[in-house]
Amino acid sequence: MTPNGDLNKESSIRHLIDEKKQKRNMSNYTERMIPGLLFLFAAISILTTIGIVYTLLTETISFFKAVPFTEFFTGTVLKPLSQNPEFGVLPLINGTIISSVIAMLVAGPIGIMTAVYLSEYATDKVRRVLKPILEVLAGIPTIVYGFFAFTFVTPVLEKIIPTLEATNILSPGIVMGVMIIPMIASLSEDAMTSVPNAMREGALALGATKLETTFRVVIPAALSGIIASFVLGISRAIGETMIVTIASGSSKNFTFDVTQSMQTMTAYIVEVSGGEAPAGSTIYYSLYAVAMTLFVFTLIMNLLARYISRKFREEY
Protein backbone atom coordinates (compact mmCIF):
# COMPACT_ATOMS: atom_id res chain seq x y z
CA MET A 1 0.00 0.00 0.00
CA THR A 2 1.39 3.40 -0.90
CA PRO A 3 1.51 6.19 1.65
CA ASN A 4 -0.71 8.09 -0.70
CA GLY A 5 -3.37 5.39 -0.59
CA ASP A 6 -3.29 5.42 3.18
CA LEU A 7 -3.83 9.13 3.21
CA ASN A 8 -6.83 8.90 0.95
CA LYS A 9 -8.37 6.21 3.07
CA GLU A 10 -7.79 8.21 6.20
CA SER A 11 -9.33 11.33 4.80
CA SER A 12 -12.41 9.40 3.67
CA ILE A 13 -12.84 7.93 7.15
CA ARG A 14 -12.45 11.36 8.62
CA HIS A 15 -15.11 12.53 6.21
CA LEU A 16 -17.52 9.81 7.33
CA ILE A 17 -16.93 10.58 10.98
CA ASP A 18 -17.59 14.27 10.42
CA GLU A 19 -20.82 13.44 8.66
CA LYS A 20 -21.99 11.26 11.54
CA LYS A 21 -20.97 13.89 14.03
CA GLN A 22 -23.22 16.45 12.40
CA LYS A 23 -26.16 14.10 12.74
CA ARG A 24 -25.27 13.46 16.33
CA ASN A 25 -25.22 17.12 17.16
CA MET A 26 -28.88 17.26 16.31
CA SER A 27 -29.67 14.56 18.83
CA ASN A 28 -27.81 16.37 21.60
CA TYR A 29 -31.14 17.28 23.10
CA THR A 30 -32.09 13.64 23.73
CA GLU A 31 -28.63 13.10 25.13
CA ARG A 32 -29.34 15.69 27.78
CA MET A 33 -32.78 14.26 28.45
CA ILE A 34 -31.48 10.78 29.17
CA PRO A 35 -30.25 11.30 32.79
CA GLY A 36 -33.62 12.72 33.79
CA LEU A 37 -35.44 9.88 32.11
CA LEU A 38 -33.23 7.29 33.78
CA PHE A 39 -33.78 9.00 37.12
CA LEU A 40 -37.52 8.59 36.65
CA PHE A 41 -37.08 4.84 36.19
CA ALA A 42 -34.90 4.65 39.30
CA ALA A 43 -37.50 6.69 41.18
CA ILE A 44 -40.22 4.12 40.48
CA SER A 45 -38.80 1.61 42.94
CA ILE A 46 -38.12 4.31 45.52
CA LEU A 47 -41.66 5.68 45.21
CA THR A 48 -43.13 2.18 45.45
CA THR A 49 -41.18 1.55 48.65
CA ILE A 50 -42.36 4.83 50.11
CA GLY A 51 -45.93 4.00 49.10
CA ILE A 52 -45.81 0.58 50.72
CA VAL A 53 -44.32 1.90 53.94
CA TYR A 54 -46.93 4.68 54.00
CA THR A 55 -49.87 2.27 53.57
CA LEU A 56 -48.43 -0.12 56.13
CA LEU A 57 -47.93 2.67 58.63
CA THR A 58 -51.38 4.28 58.34
CA GLU A 59 -53.26 0.98 58.52
CA THR A 60 -51.05 -0.22 61.34
CA ILE A 61 -51.82 2.94 63.28
CA SER A 62 -55.54 2.26 62.78
CA PHE A 63 -54.97 -1.24 64.14
CA PHE A 64 -53.25 0.00 67.26
CA LYS A 65 -56.20 2.29 67.94
CA ALA A 66 -58.30 -0.85 68.41
CA VAL A 67 -55.72 -3.16 69.97
CA PRO A 68 -53.13 -1.93 72.48
CA PHE A 69 -49.52 -2.11 71.41
CA THR A 70 -48.50 -4.25 74.38
CA GLU A 71 -51.30 -6.75 73.86
CA PHE A 72 -50.19 -7.26 70.27
CA PHE A 73 -46.53 -7.80 71.04
CA THR A 74 -46.83 -9.73 74.29
CA GLY A 75 -50.00 -11.70 73.65
CA THR A 76 -49.47 -15.40 73.15
CA VAL A 77 -53.00 -16.03 71.91
CA LEU A 78 -54.20 -15.21 68.43
CA LYS A 79 -57.94 -15.70 67.88
CA PRO A 80 -58.99 -13.14 65.30
CA LEU A 81 -62.27 -14.83 64.37
CA SER A 82 -63.51 -15.65 67.84
CA GLN A 83 -66.38 -13.89 69.63
CA ASN A 84 -63.82 -12.30 71.92
CA PRO A 85 -60.95 -11.85 69.48
CA GLU A 86 -57.41 -11.76 70.77
CA PHE A 87 -54.57 -10.36 68.75
CA GLY A 88 -51.28 -11.61 70.16
CA VAL A 89 -48.66 -11.74 67.41
CA LEU A 90 -46.22 -13.96 69.30
CA PRO A 91 -47.56 -17.27 67.88
CA LEU A 92 -46.89 -15.95 64.38
CA ILE A 93 -43.44 -14.60 65.24
CA ASN A 94 -42.68 -17.89 66.93
CA GLY A 95 -43.80 -19.87 63.88
CA THR A 96 -41.80 -17.65 61.56
CA ILE A 97 -38.64 -17.91 63.62
CA ILE A 98 -38.91 -21.66 64.14
CA SER A 99 -39.52 -22.40 60.47
CA SER A 100 -36.65 -20.10 59.47
CA VAL A 101 -34.29 -21.67 61.98
CA ILE A 102 -35.13 -25.16 60.71
CA ALA A 103 -34.64 -23.95 57.15
CA MET A 104 -31.27 -22.42 57.95
CA LEU A 105 -30.14 -25.52 59.87
CA VAL A 106 -30.72 -27.42 56.64
CA ALA A 107 -29.59 -24.82 54.12
CA GLY A 108 -26.60 -23.37 55.98
CA PRO A 109 -24.35 -26.42 56.33
CA ILE A 110 -25.44 -28.08 53.09
CA GLY A 111 -25.15 -24.81 51.18
CA ILE A 112 -21.66 -24.07 52.49
CA MET A 113 -20.42 -27.60 51.92
CA THR A 114 -21.78 -27.50 48.39
CA ALA A 115 -20.02 -24.19 47.83
CA VAL A 116 -16.75 -25.57 49.23
CA TYR A 117 -17.02 -28.58 46.97
CA LEU A 118 -17.84 -26.55 43.88
CA SER A 119 -15.23 -23.88 44.41
CA GLU A 120 -12.33 -25.87 45.90
CA TYR A 121 -12.66 -29.52 44.98
CA ALA A 122 -14.83 -30.11 41.94
CA THR A 123 -13.18 -30.43 38.56
CA ASP A 124 -14.36 -28.07 35.86
CA LYS A 125 -16.36 -30.85 34.29
CA VAL A 126 -18.29 -31.67 37.47
CA ARG A 127 -18.88 -28.00 38.17
CA ARG A 128 -20.29 -27.44 34.71
CA VAL A 129 -22.85 -30.21 35.29
CA LEU A 130 -23.67 -29.47 38.93
CA LYS A 131 -24.21 -25.75 38.85
CA PRO A 132 -27.05 -25.74 36.31
CA ILE A 133 -28.80 -28.54 38.21
CA LEU A 134 -28.52 -26.49 41.36
CA GLU A 135 -30.00 -23.53 39.56
CA VAL A 136 -32.95 -25.61 38.39
CA LEU A 137 -33.67 -26.29 42.06
CA ALA A 138 -33.79 -22.53 42.60
CA GLY A 139 -36.27 -22.12 39.76
CA ILE A 140 -38.94 -24.49 41.05
CA PRO A 141 -42.11 -22.57 42.03
CA THR A 142 -42.62 -22.53 45.79
CA ILE A 143 -46.12 -24.00 45.48
CA VAL A 144 -44.48 -27.16 44.13
CA TYR A 145 -42.19 -27.21 47.16
CA GLY A 146 -45.26 -26.80 49.34
CA PHE A 147 -46.94 -29.81 47.84
CA PHE A 148 -43.70 -31.74 48.04
CA ALA A 149 -43.53 -30.97 51.77
CA PHE A 150 -47.16 -31.87 52.38
CA THR A 151 -47.50 -35.02 50.29
CA PHE A 152 -43.99 -36.46 50.41
CA VAL A 153 -41.77 -35.12 53.19
CA THR A 154 -44.39 -35.21 55.95
CA PRO A 155 -45.34 -38.88 55.33
CA VAL A 156 -41.66 -39.84 55.22
CA LEU A 157 -40.96 -37.97 58.47
CA GLU A 158 -43.98 -39.63 60.06
CA LYS A 159 -42.19 -42.96 59.72
CA ILE A 160 -39.34 -41.58 61.83
CA ILE A 161 -41.42 -39.44 64.20
CA PRO A 162 -44.78 -41.21 64.72
CA THR A 163 -46.23 -38.32 66.72
CA LEU A 164 -45.85 -35.92 63.79
CA GLU A 165 -49.07 -34.16 62.90
CA ALA A 166 -50.34 -34.09 59.33
CA THR A 167 -49.61 -30.40 59.22
CA ASN A 168 -46.48 -29.43 61.14
CA ILE A 169 -43.72 -26.85 61.02
CA LEU A 170 -40.83 -29.34 60.68
CA SER A 171 -41.58 -30.53 57.20
CA PRO A 172 -42.04 -27.12 55.55
CA GLY A 173 -38.99 -25.89 57.48
CA ILE A 174 -36.85 -28.63 55.97
CA VAL A 175 -38.25 -28.12 52.49
CA MET A 176 -37.71 -24.37 52.76
CA GLY A 177 -34.11 -25.20 53.63
CA VAL A 178 -33.82 -27.29 50.50
CA MET A 179 -35.24 -24.42 48.52
CA ILE A 180 -32.64 -22.02 49.95
CA ILE A 181 -29.63 -24.32 49.42
CA PRO A 182 -28.98 -23.19 45.82
CA MET A 183 -29.03 -19.57 46.86
CA ILE A 184 -26.51 -20.04 49.66
CA ALA A 185 -24.39 -22.46 47.65
CA SER A 186 -24.27 -20.26 44.60
CA LEU A 187 -23.56 -16.97 46.39
CA SER A 188 -21.02 -18.54 48.74
CA GLU A 189 -19.34 -20.22 45.82
CA ASP A 190 -19.05 -16.89 44.04
CA ALA A 191 -17.50 -15.40 47.15
CA MET A 192 -15.01 -18.27 47.51
CA THR A 193 -14.12 -18.38 43.83
CA SER A 194 -13.28 -14.70 43.91
CA VAL A 195 -10.67 -15.24 46.65
CA PRO A 196 -7.41 -14.86 44.71
CA ASN A 197 -5.46 -18.05 44.06
CA ALA A 198 -2.40 -16.34 45.53
CA MET A 199 -4.03 -16.78 48.96
CA ARG A 200 -4.42 -20.51 48.47
CA GLU A 201 -0.86 -20.79 47.17
CA GLY A 202 0.42 -18.89 50.18
CA ALA A 203 -1.23 -21.34 52.56
CA LEU A 204 -0.36 -24.47 50.60
CA ALA A 205 3.28 -23.37 50.39
CA LEU A 206 3.35 -23.27 54.19
CA GLY A 207 2.47 -26.93 54.27
CA ALA A 208 -1.25 -26.48 54.86
CA THR A 209 -3.45 -29.23 53.51
CA LYS A 210 -6.22 -28.42 51.11
CA LEU A 211 -8.79 -28.67 53.91
CA GLU A 212 -6.79 -26.31 56.16
CA THR A 213 -6.40 -23.90 53.28
CA THR A 214 -10.13 -23.97 52.59
CA PHE A 215 -11.30 -23.51 56.15
CA ARG A 216 -8.61 -21.17 57.43
CA VAL A 217 -7.88 -18.99 54.46
CA VAL A 218 -10.54 -19.23 51.77
CA ILE A 219 -13.65 -19.23 53.96
CA PRO A 220 -12.43 -16.41 56.25
CA ALA A 221 -11.51 -14.37 53.20
CA ALA A 222 -14.92 -14.99 51.66
CA LEU A 223 -16.79 -14.54 54.93
CA SER A 224 -18.57 -11.32 54.09
CA GLY A 225 -20.00 -12.89 50.94
CA ILE A 226 -20.96 -16.03 52.82
CA ILE A 227 -22.73 -14.03 55.54
CA ALA A 228 -24.52 -12.06 52.87
CA SER A 229 -25.76 -15.31 51.34
CA PHE A 230 -26.95 -16.50 54.76
CA VAL A 231 -28.86 -13.33 55.40
CA LEU A 232 -30.50 -13.45 52.01
CA GLY A 233 -31.40 -17.04 52.84
CA ILE A 234 -32.90 -16.03 56.18
CA SER A 235 -34.84 -13.20 54.57
CA ARG A 236 -36.12 -15.64 52.01
CA ALA A 237 -37.17 -18.05 54.75
CA ILE A 238 -38.90 -15.34 56.75
CA GLY A 239 -40.76 -14.11 53.70
CA GLU A 240 -41.58 -17.56 52.31
CA THR A 241 -45.34 -18.07 52.16
CA MET A 242 -46.61 -20.92 50.01
CA ILE A 243 -44.67 -23.80 51.56
CA VAL A 244 -45.69 -23.01 55.13
CA THR A 245 -49.29 -22.19 54.16
CA ILE A 246 -49.73 -25.60 52.56
CA ALA A 247 -47.71 -27.84 54.85
CA SER A 248 -48.01 -26.22 58.26
CA GLY A 249 -51.73 -25.54 58.38
CA SER A 250 -53.29 -22.59 60.14
CA SER A 251 -53.25 -23.49 63.84
CA LYS A 252 -52.03 -20.51 65.76
CA ASN A 253 -50.17 -22.59 68.34
CA PHE A 254 -47.64 -20.91 70.56
CA THR A 255 -45.24 -23.80 71.14
CA PHE A 256 -41.70 -24.93 70.52
CA ASP A 257 -42.74 -28.43 69.50
CA VAL A 258 -41.84 -28.67 65.84
CA THR A 259 -44.08 -31.68 65.26
CA GLN A 260 -47.12 -29.44 65.67
CA SER A 261 -48.84 -27.14 63.27
CA MET A 262 -47.88 -23.49 63.54
CA GLN A 263 -48.62 -20.44 61.50
CA THR A 264 -46.10 -17.95 60.21
CA MET A 265 -46.71 -14.27 59.68
CA THR A 266 -46.90 -14.76 55.94
CA ALA A 267 -49.33 -17.67 56.18
CA TYR A 268 -51.57 -15.59 58.46
CA ILE A 269 -51.69 -12.84 55.87
CA VAL A 270 -52.66 -15.40 53.22
CA GLU A 271 -55.38 -16.85 55.42
CA VAL A 272 -56.90 -13.55 56.47
CA SER A 273 -56.71 -11.84 53.12
CA GLY A 274 -58.41 -14.89 51.63
CA GLY A 275 -61.79 -13.21 52.03
CA GLU A 276 -62.58 -13.59 55.69
CA ALA A 277 -61.71 -10.04 56.64
CA PRO A 278 -64.18 -7.28 55.88
CA ALA A 279 -62.43 -4.01 55.11
CA GLY A 280 -62.22 -1.70 58.10
CA SER A 281 -62.53 -4.48 60.67
CA THR A 282 -59.89 -5.11 63.28
CA ILE A 283 -58.96 -8.38 61.55
CA TYR A 284 -58.41 -6.45 58.35
CA TYR A 285 -56.13 -3.98 60.10
CA SER A 286 -54.32 -6.80 61.84
CA LEU A 287 -53.08 -7.85 58.41
CA TYR A 288 -51.17 -4.62 58.14
CA ALA A 289 -49.83 -4.81 61.66
CA VAL A 290 -48.49 -8.29 60.94
CA ALA A 291 -47.10 -7.17 57.59
CA MET A 292 -45.41 -4.23 59.31
CA THR A 293 -43.86 -6.57 61.85
CA LEU A 294 -42.61 -8.77 59.00
CA PHE A 295 -41.20 -5.72 57.27
CA VAL A 296 -39.38 -4.57 60.40
CA PHE A 297 -38.02 -8.11 60.82
CA THR A 298 -36.45 -8.24 57.39
CA LEU A 299 -35.22 -4.66 57.73
CA ILE A 300 -33.44 -5.51 60.97
CA MET A 301 -32.00 -8.62 59.33
CA ASN A 302 -30.59 -6.60 56.47
CA LEU A 303 -29.09 -3.95 58.74
CA LEU A 304 -27.61 -6.65 60.94
CA ALA A 305 -26.14 -8.37 57.90
CA ARG A 306 -24.56 -5.17 56.73
CA TYR A 307 -23.02 -4.58 60.12
CA ILE A 308 -21.74 -8.16 60.47
CA SER A 309 -20.34 -8.40 57.00
CA ARG A 310 -18.53 -5.11 57.43
CA LYS A 311 -17.12 -6.25 60.72
CA PHE A 312 -15.87 -9.57 59.40
CA ARG A 313 -14.69 -8.36 56.04
CA GLU A 314 -11.16 -9.39 55.20
CA GLU A 315 -9.91 -7.03 52.56
CA TYR A 316 -7.63 -8.40 49.92
Partner: protein, 272 residues
Amino acid sequence: MSLKTASKPIFTNYTEETFPNKNVVYDTKDLNLWYGETHALKDINLSIYEKEVTAIIGPSGCGKSTYIKTLNRMVELVPTVRTTGSITYNGMSILDKKFKVEDLRTRVGMVFQKPNPFPKSIYDNVAYGPKIHGIRNKKILDEIVEKSLRGASIWEEVKDRLKENAYGLSGGQQQRLCIARCLAIEPDVILMDEPTSALDPKSTLRIEELVQELKKDYSIIIVTHNMQQAARISDRTAFFLNGEVVEFDQTDTIFTKPADSRTEDYISGRFG
Protein backbone atom coordinates in the same frame (compact mmCIF):
# COMPACT_ATOMS: atom_id res chain seq x y z
CA MET B 1 21.91 -42.68 24.41
CA SER B 2 24.20 -40.35 22.53
CA LEU B 3 21.25 -38.09 21.83
CA LYS B 4 20.41 -37.90 25.46
CA THR B 5 23.92 -36.94 26.51
CA ALA B 6 23.98 -34.30 23.84
CA SER B 7 20.89 -32.65 25.25
CA LYS B 8 22.37 -32.49 28.71
CA PRO B 9 23.62 -29.11 29.86
CA ILE B 10 27.24 -28.19 29.89
CA PHE B 11 28.67 -28.23 33.36
CA THR B 12 31.85 -26.30 33.25
CA ASN B 13 34.06 -27.39 36.09
CA TYR B 14 31.39 -29.68 37.46
CA THR B 15 33.78 -31.41 39.83
CA GLU B 16 34.13 -31.94 43.52
CA GLU B 17 36.96 -29.40 43.66
CA THR B 18 34.72 -26.56 42.56
CA PHE B 19 32.00 -27.48 45.02
CA PRO B 20 33.96 -28.37 48.13
CA ASN B 21 32.51 -29.27 51.50
CA LYS B 22 29.00 -28.36 50.52
CA ASN B 23 26.01 -30.55 51.10
CA VAL B 24 23.59 -31.00 48.28
CA VAL B 25 20.06 -30.02 49.34
CA TYR B 26 18.28 -30.72 46.11
CA ASP B 27 19.47 -33.11 43.48
CA THR B 28 17.55 -33.08 40.23
CA LYS B 29 18.11 -35.96 37.82
CA ASP B 30 16.74 -36.11 34.27
CA LEU B 31 13.67 -34.13 35.17
CA ASN B 32 11.10 -33.72 32.42
CA LEU B 33 7.83 -31.92 32.88
CA TRP B 34 4.82 -31.48 30.66
CA TYR B 35 1.82 -29.19 30.96
CA GLY B 36 -0.61 -31.25 28.93
CA GLU B 37 1.22 -31.52 25.61
CA THR B 38 3.69 -28.73 26.28
CA HIS B 39 7.13 -29.99 27.19
CA ALA B 40 8.11 -27.33 29.72
CA LEU B 41 11.22 -28.85 31.34
CA LYS B 42 13.63 -31.01 29.40
CA ASP B 43 16.18 -33.31 31.02
CA ILE B 44 17.02 -31.02 33.89
CA ASN B 45 20.05 -32.00 35.95
CA LEU B 46 20.88 -29.63 38.76
CA SER B 47 22.32 -29.77 42.24
CA ILE B 48 21.41 -27.11 44.74
CA TYR B 49 23.87 -26.55 47.57
CA GLU B 50 23.20 -25.87 51.18
CA LYS B 51 23.31 -22.33 52.60
CA GLU B 52 23.99 -20.70 49.31
CA VAL B 53 21.96 -18.48 47.07
CA THR B 54 21.25 -20.20 43.79
CA ALA B 55 19.87 -17.93 41.13
CA ILE B 56 17.87 -19.19 38.19
CA ILE B 57 17.87 -16.85 35.24
CA GLY B 58 16.51 -17.00 31.75
CA PRO B 59 14.03 -15.34 29.43
CA SER B 60 10.25 -15.52 29.98
CA GLY B 61 8.80 -18.94 29.36
CA CYS B 62 12.13 -20.73 29.79
CA GLY B 63 10.76 -22.89 32.61
CA LYS B 64 12.55 -21.24 35.52
CA SER B 65 9.37 -20.65 37.51
CA THR B 66 8.10 -24.10 36.65
CA TYR B 67 11.34 -25.59 37.94
CA ILE B 68 11.27 -23.77 41.26
CA LYS B 69 7.63 -24.75 41.76
CA THR B 70 8.56 -28.36 41.14
CA LEU B 71 10.92 -28.16 44.12
CA ASN B 72 7.95 -27.85 46.50
CA ARG B 73 5.52 -29.52 44.12
CA MET B 74 3.35 -26.40 43.89
CA VAL B 75 3.45 -27.07 40.17
CA GLU B 76 0.89 -29.81 40.76
CA LEU B 77 -1.81 -27.18 41.25
CA VAL B 78 -2.00 -27.26 37.46
CA PRO B 79 -4.03 -30.43 36.95
CA THR B 80 -2.48 -31.47 33.65
CA VAL B 81 1.09 -31.61 34.94
CA ARG B 82 3.13 -34.74 34.34
CA THR B 83 6.73 -35.37 35.37
CA THR B 84 9.44 -37.97 34.82
CA GLY B 85 12.87 -38.21 36.37
CA SER B 86 13.64 -37.55 39.99
CA ILE B 87 14.30 -34.82 42.50
CA THR B 88 15.76 -35.73 45.85
CA TYR B 89 15.54 -33.37 48.78
CA ASN B 90 18.05 -34.29 51.49
CA GLY B 91 18.05 -37.78 50.03
CA MET B 92 14.25 -38.14 49.91
CA SER B 93 12.62 -38.68 46.58
CA ILE B 94 10.01 -35.95 46.57
CA LEU B 95 8.34 -36.59 43.24
CA ASP B 96 7.24 -39.96 44.57
CA LYS B 97 3.44 -39.83 44.81
CA LYS B 98 3.66 -41.42 48.23
CA PHE B 99 5.80 -38.58 49.53
CA LYS B 100 3.69 -36.33 51.72
CA VAL B 101 3.76 -33.00 50.02
CA GLU B 102 2.76 -31.09 53.20
CA ASP B 103 5.92 -32.36 54.92
CA LEU B 104 8.02 -31.08 52.06
CA ARG B 105 6.34 -27.69 52.09
CA THR B 106 6.83 -27.40 55.83
CA ARG B 107 10.58 -27.58 55.28
CA VAL B 108 10.68 -25.60 52.08
CA GLY B 109 9.22 -22.13 52.28
CA MET B 110 8.17 -20.12 49.28
CA VAL B 111 7.96 -16.44 48.49
CA PHE B 112 5.91 -15.46 45.48
CA GLN B 113 6.22 -12.93 42.71
CA LYS B 114 3.41 -10.78 44.00
CA PRO B 115 3.25 -10.34 47.78
CA ASN B 116 0.35 -12.50 48.91
CA PRO B 117 -0.26 -11.92 52.61
CA PHE B 118 -3.49 -13.36 53.95
CA PRO B 119 -6.25 -10.82 54.52
CA LYS B 120 -5.60 -11.05 58.25
CA SER B 121 -3.60 -9.09 60.79
CA ILE B 122 0.19 -8.89 60.54
CA TYR B 123 0.42 -11.13 63.60
CA ASP B 124 -1.97 -13.74 62.23
CA ASN B 125 -0.13 -13.85 58.94
CA VAL B 126 3.09 -14.88 60.64
CA ALA B 127 1.36 -17.14 63.16
CA TYR B 128 -0.65 -18.95 60.49
CA GLY B 129 2.05 -21.51 59.64
CA PRO B 130 2.90 -22.48 63.22
CA LYS B 131 -0.82 -22.63 64.04
CA ILE B 132 -1.72 -25.07 61.29
CA HIS B 133 1.18 -27.21 62.42
CA GLY B 134 -0.36 -27.44 65.86
CA ILE B 135 1.36 -24.70 67.89
CA ARG B 136 -1.35 -23.11 70.03
CA ASN B 137 0.55 -21.70 73.00
CA LYS B 138 0.14 -17.93 72.90
CA LYS B 139 3.55 -17.22 74.44
CA ILE B 140 5.38 -19.45 71.99
CA LEU B 141 3.44 -17.92 69.10
CA ASP B 142 4.35 -14.42 70.29
CA GLU B 143 8.01 -15.41 70.33
CA ILE B 144 7.83 -16.99 66.88
CA VAL B 145 6.12 -13.92 65.45
CA GLU B 146 8.72 -11.54 66.86
CA LYS B 147 11.64 -13.74 65.83
CA SER B 148 10.31 -14.21 62.31
CA LEU B 149 9.55 -10.53 61.82
CA ARG B 150 13.03 -9.67 63.08
CA GLY B 151 14.47 -12.29 60.75
CA ALA B 152 12.74 -10.64 57.84
CA SER B 153 13.97 -7.22 59.09
CA ILE B 154 10.48 -5.78 59.35
CA TRP B 155 9.96 -5.99 63.12
CA GLU B 156 10.87 -2.36 63.85
CA GLU B 157 8.35 -1.15 61.28
CA VAL B 158 5.40 -3.22 62.44
CA LYS B 159 5.94 -3.97 66.13
CA ASP B 160 3.35 -1.39 67.19
CA ARG B 161 0.70 -2.45 64.70
CA LEU B 162 0.75 -6.24 64.80
CA LYS B 163 -3.04 -6.39 65.01
CA GLU B 164 -3.56 -4.27 61.92
CA ASN B 165 -4.46 -5.75 58.56
CA ALA B 166 -1.46 -6.78 56.49
CA TYR B 167 -2.91 -5.03 53.48
CA GLY B 168 -2.19 -1.69 55.12
CA LEU B 169 1.53 -2.30 54.52
CA SER B 170 3.43 -1.13 51.45
CA GLY B 171 4.28 -3.65 48.73
CA GLY B 172 7.86 -4.03 49.92
CA GLN B 173 6.74 -4.47 53.53
CA GLN B 174 4.15 -7.02 52.44
CA GLN B 175 6.85 -9.01 50.69
CA ARG B 176 9.06 -8.96 53.79
CA LEU B 177 6.02 -10.00 55.80
CA CYS B 178 5.61 -12.95 53.42
CA ILE B 179 9.25 -13.83 54.04
CA ALA B 180 8.58 -13.61 57.80
CA ARG B 181 5.55 -15.86 57.37
CA CYS B 182 7.77 -18.35 55.65
CA LEU B 183 10.50 -18.12 58.34
CA ALA B 184 7.92 -18.79 61.05
CA ILE B 185 7.87 -22.51 60.26
CA GLU B 186 11.69 -22.65 60.29
CA PRO B 187 12.24 -24.10 56.86
CA ASP B 188 15.60 -25.29 55.55
CA VAL B 189 15.12 -23.93 52.09
CA ILE B 190 13.44 -20.76 50.84
CA LEU B 191 12.22 -20.68 47.27
CA MET B 192 11.77 -17.21 45.85
CA ASP B 193 9.90 -16.80 42.62
CA GLU B 194 10.85 -13.36 41.26
CA PRO B 195 10.30 -11.85 44.71
CA THR B 196 11.18 -8.30 43.71
CA SER B 197 9.58 -8.01 40.29
CA ALA B 198 6.54 -6.21 41.71
CA LEU B 199 8.60 -3.88 43.93
CA ASP B 200 10.25 -0.49 43.56
CA PRO B 201 14.09 -0.24 43.55
CA LYS B 202 14.35 0.72 47.22
CA SER B 203 12.22 -2.21 48.41
CA THR B 204 14.14 -4.46 46.02
CA LEU B 205 17.40 -3.44 47.64
CA ARG B 206 16.05 -4.25 51.10
CA ILE B 207 14.96 -7.70 49.96
CA GLU B 208 18.35 -8.29 48.37
CA GLU B 209 20.12 -7.33 51.59
CA LEU B 210 17.76 -9.61 53.45
CA VAL B 211 18.59 -12.52 51.15
CA GLN B 212 22.29 -12.01 51.91
CA GLU B 213 21.45 -12.11 55.59
CA LEU B 214 19.22 -15.18 55.33
CA LYS B 215 21.68 -17.35 53.46
CA LYS B 216 23.66 -17.80 56.67
CA ASP B 217 20.85 -20.02 57.91
CA TYR B 218 18.89 -21.05 54.84
CA SER B 219 19.47 -22.41 51.39
CA ILE B 220 17.89 -19.98 48.99
CA ILE B 221 16.82 -20.56 45.43
CA ILE B 222 15.76 -17.42 43.66
CA VAL B 223 14.21 -17.08 40.24
CA THR B 224 14.88 -13.69 38.72
CA HIS B 225 14.58 -12.03 35.36
CA ASN B 226 16.98 -9.39 36.60
CA MET B 227 20.51 -10.47 35.71
CA GLN B 228 22.14 -7.76 37.79
CA GLN B 229 20.24 -9.07 40.75
CA ALA B 230 21.49 -12.58 40.14
CA ALA B 231 25.04 -11.25 39.80
CA ARG B 232 24.72 -9.22 42.99
CA ILE B 233 23.25 -11.74 45.37
CA SER B 234 23.82 -15.30 44.20
CA ASP B 235 26.65 -17.72 44.68
CA ARG B 236 25.65 -19.96 41.82
CA THR B 237 23.59 -19.32 38.75
CA ALA B 238 21.70 -21.61 36.43
CA PHE B 239 20.77 -20.31 33.02
CA PHE B 240 17.56 -21.79 31.62
CA LEU B 241 16.52 -21.58 28.00
CA ASN B 242 13.52 -23.25 26.35
CA GLY B 243 13.05 -25.62 29.25
CA GLU B 244 16.68 -26.73 29.40
CA VAL B 245 19.56 -25.86 31.67
CA VAL B 246 22.11 -24.32 29.35
CA GLU B 247 24.70 -23.64 31.97
CA PHE B 248 25.09 -23.94 35.72
CA ASP B 249 28.11 -22.63 37.52
CA GLN B 250 29.51 -20.22 40.05
CA THR B 251 27.87 -16.87 39.47
CA ASP B 252 31.25 -15.22 38.82
CA THR B 253 32.04 -17.69 36.10
CA ILE B 254 28.62 -17.38 34.46
CA PHE B 255 28.88 -13.62 34.30
CA THR B 256 32.55 -13.30 33.39
CA LYS B 257 33.44 -16.29 31.27
CA PRO B 258 30.36 -18.31 30.36
CA ALA B 259 31.06 -21.55 28.58
CA ASP B 260 28.08 -21.46 26.29
CA SER B 261 27.62 -18.79 23.66
CA ARG B 262 23.86 -18.64 24.38
CA THR B 263 24.58 -17.73 28.01
CA GLU B 264 26.91 -15.02 26.83
CA ASP B 265 24.28 -13.70 24.44
CA TYR B 266 21.69 -13.61 27.17
CA ILE B 267 23.77 -11.99 29.89
CA SER B 268 25.08 -9.42 27.47
CA GLY B 269 21.51 -8.52 26.62
CA ARG B 270 21.43 -9.78 23.04
CA PHE B 271 18.10 -11.49 23.69
CA GLY B 272 15.63 -12.05 26.46
